[in-house]
């Protein structure tokens, strides 16, 4: 049986629902020699500002139980160098290309988006309003619904490309932020970025990361990310990309069933660059086992128990 894995997200036709998450796949080119990038539904670039950024001092990463805490701080080449040097090399691969857009100010987000609007080969823009590892922008925008609206609105006006804000999990009610993005004209949502965490070296009594706090990713956060994806997907009409701790086909399916149209894979890229092939095989096997022909048939099929059932008594 031939099963269909292609999905459509905000007009972007992805050959499958697996996208490499921002900051965990470099600019894509790093993996060129290790795998066929054409296997992927899409790639999200590292976060890009107008200018090159040094990022934070080291140590920048530390392991946690089933997780990774990072404070890279958006080291990057800047949007112009990306367009000039990286993009031409990437466009030869048959996969969707999203760029993760950053800014210290609303204007900077708009400006970066404007530059990318004209760049050949860019499929869509992911708006990073949720990085916990920078002092301006980032989470400061994504933690305030009004600022969220403003950033998305400004980017919306700066580009005709699909606009995909990336939500922060460090909020009380993610549906408020999901709706603010939808109202500002977003085409889809990425859900979620990292959880703000702190790991302390008890010998030196200092944070293990030079930056202090960091963003928690990996399998540890998956249950929280699935829950937020489920909440966001029910709150808006635009498609949602699920992100957080995905490493297997089972994990992918949790997010799709919760309502995500596609998913992004982050930390697991560091652990096993060979995972895409395995996950695709396992997704196909799942569909066949369940007599399904199209991955879209599982999206949003979670049977959430009704109130009566959640209180079922003997």
């Amino acid at each position: 049986m031939d099963v269909k894995l292609g999905v459509d997200v905000a007009g972007m036709a992805l050959k499958n629902p697996l996208i490499a998450a921002s900051g965990t796949f470099g600019y894509g080119v790093e993996y060129e020699s290790l795998m066929d990038l054409g296997l992927l539904g899409g790639i999200v670039s590292k976060g890009l500002y107008l200018e090159p950024r040094l990022g934070n001092p080291t140590p920048r990463i530390v392991e946690t139980p089933a997780g990774l805490l990072n404070a890279i701080g958006l080291q990057g080449v800047g949007v112009r160098a990306f367009v000039a040097d990286v993009l031409p090399r990437l466009t030869k691969h048959d996969t969707a290309l999203l760029v993760n857009v950053c800014g210290d100010t609303v204007e900077e987000y708009a400006e970066v988006s404007r530059i990318l609007d004209g760049a050949p080969g860019v499929t869509g823009l992911e708006i990073n309003i949720s990085c916990p590892n920078v002092k301006k922008g980032g989470m400061a925008f994504g933690g305030d619904p009004r600022m969220t609206f403003e950033v998305v609105d400004a980017v919306r006006k700066a580009t005709r490309l699909p606009v995909i804000p990336k939500l922060s999990p460090n909020v009380g009610d993610i549906t408020i932020f999901a709706r603010a993005c939808e109202e500002a004209g977003a085409d889809a949502l990425s859900c979620v970025n990292t959880l703000l965490g702190l790991v302390i070296d008890v010998e030196s009594r200092r944070p293990r990361l030079a930056f202090g706090t960091g963003g928690l990713s990996g399998p540890a956060i998956r249950p929280v990310a699935v829950r937020m994806t489920w909440q966001a997907a029910r709150a808006v009409r635009i498609p949602v990309l699920g992100i957080g701790g995905i490493a297997t086909a089972n994990d992918v399916l949790e997010f799709l069933i919760a309502g995500a149209r596609a998913v992004q894979i982050g930390t697991a890229n560091f652990v096993d660059p060979g995972l895409y092939e395995r996950v695709l095989t396992d997704l196909r096997a799942y569909l066949e086992r369940h007599g399904l022909t199209d991955i879209n048939q599982v999206v949003g099929t979670l049977e959430y128990p009704g109130d009566a059932e959640r209180e079922r008594r003997g």
């Binding site: 796949f25 470099g26 790093e30 990022g55 990463i61 946690t64 080291q75 890229n269 560091f270 096993d272």
Partner: protein
């Protein structure tokens, strides 16, 4: 070219203390690896610890498609690797990183190692032997238990000078002392190679600087991915002609760097 594979452990030799020699089958590594390159490896596909770990390639046997690691079990990742049984699978990516650059014709190779930092020098010594002498190895550790990889160098015909801080084997004190003594006595035309704890690397680099000798150091930062994407392993490097240092990935532009380019912090 680096290749990601699930590979079986084919041999396991426990040494004293926490050291162990692990031999795996991996064709690309066995055929292509150069001294100073490393692998990112993890025992099995368990969730803990989350990431792979970097280890220098100690030796290769291309005819058997095997390579060997020399490792010290100090934490979760290394303990899991050390506890593998023959036949168990590891996830392994390699060969990675920039190798040591061979010394120019007529220069002596002086290798300075601390603890598990000895691993890449066995391979370097073999490469050197193929084109002349196997080099001179200064091998230091806290005590005798930390300088266990000796006989393979002796078999190769490399000159081995051991130093232990507690004097339990070889010269008493830091390994830089016999190195300095040798430079004083022989005043050789030499290239220094260093791999070991940061303090030792820095000491060797200063010494090289003072004597005007070229020196390559293999750095040992935390690594998340080994292929330049996590940006966790960056170190400050300033190359000639650059106005300011830059963060460079130790995994792709290193781990071996010209010591004069390293901004020691």
């Amino acid at each position: 070219m680096a290749r990601n594979r699930d590979i079986p452990l084919v041999r396991r030799e426990a040494l004293d203390g926490a050291y162990v020699l692990l031999t795996f089958r991996h064709p690309e590594i066995a055929h292509e690896a150069r001294a100073g390159q490393f692998v990112m490896i993890k025992a099995g596909i368990s969730a803990e610890p989350p990431l792979r770990r970097p280890f220098s390639i100690m030796s290769v046997a291309p005819e058997r498609e095997e390579f060997t690691l020399f490792l010290k079990a100090i934490g979760q990742g290394t303990r899991r690797l050390a506890a593998m049984d023959v036949g168990d699978l590891a996830q392994c990516l390699g060969p990675l990183g920039q190798p040591f650059v061979a010394p120019p014709e007529g220069s002596e190779a002086l290798m300075v190692a601390g603890g598990y930092g000895i691993a890449p020098f066995l391979m370097l010594s073999r490469q050197l032997q193929a084109s002349g002498g196997a080099g001179r190895v200064f091998y230091g550790g806290r005590s005798a238990g930390d300088v266990q990889l000796r006989s393979p160098f002796e078999h190769l015909g490399a000159t081995l000078v051991v130093a232990t801080e507690d004097g339990s084997l070889g010269v008493t004190g830091r390994v830089t002392a016999p190195l300095e003594a040798y430079l004083d006595a022989a005043a050789p035309k030499a290239v220094l190679y260093a791999c070991g704890p940061d303090a030792m690397l820095h000491a060797v680099a200063s010494l090289a600087e003072r004597r005007g000798l070229p020196c390559q150091v293999s750095l040992d930062p935390w690594m998340g991915c080994g292929i330049g994407t996590c940006l966790g392993c960056v170190v400050w490097i300033q190359k000639p002609g650059e106005a300011r240092p830059k963060y460079r990935c130790a995994c792709t532009e290193g781990p071996v760097f010209d010591s004069r380019h390293v901004v020691w912090t």
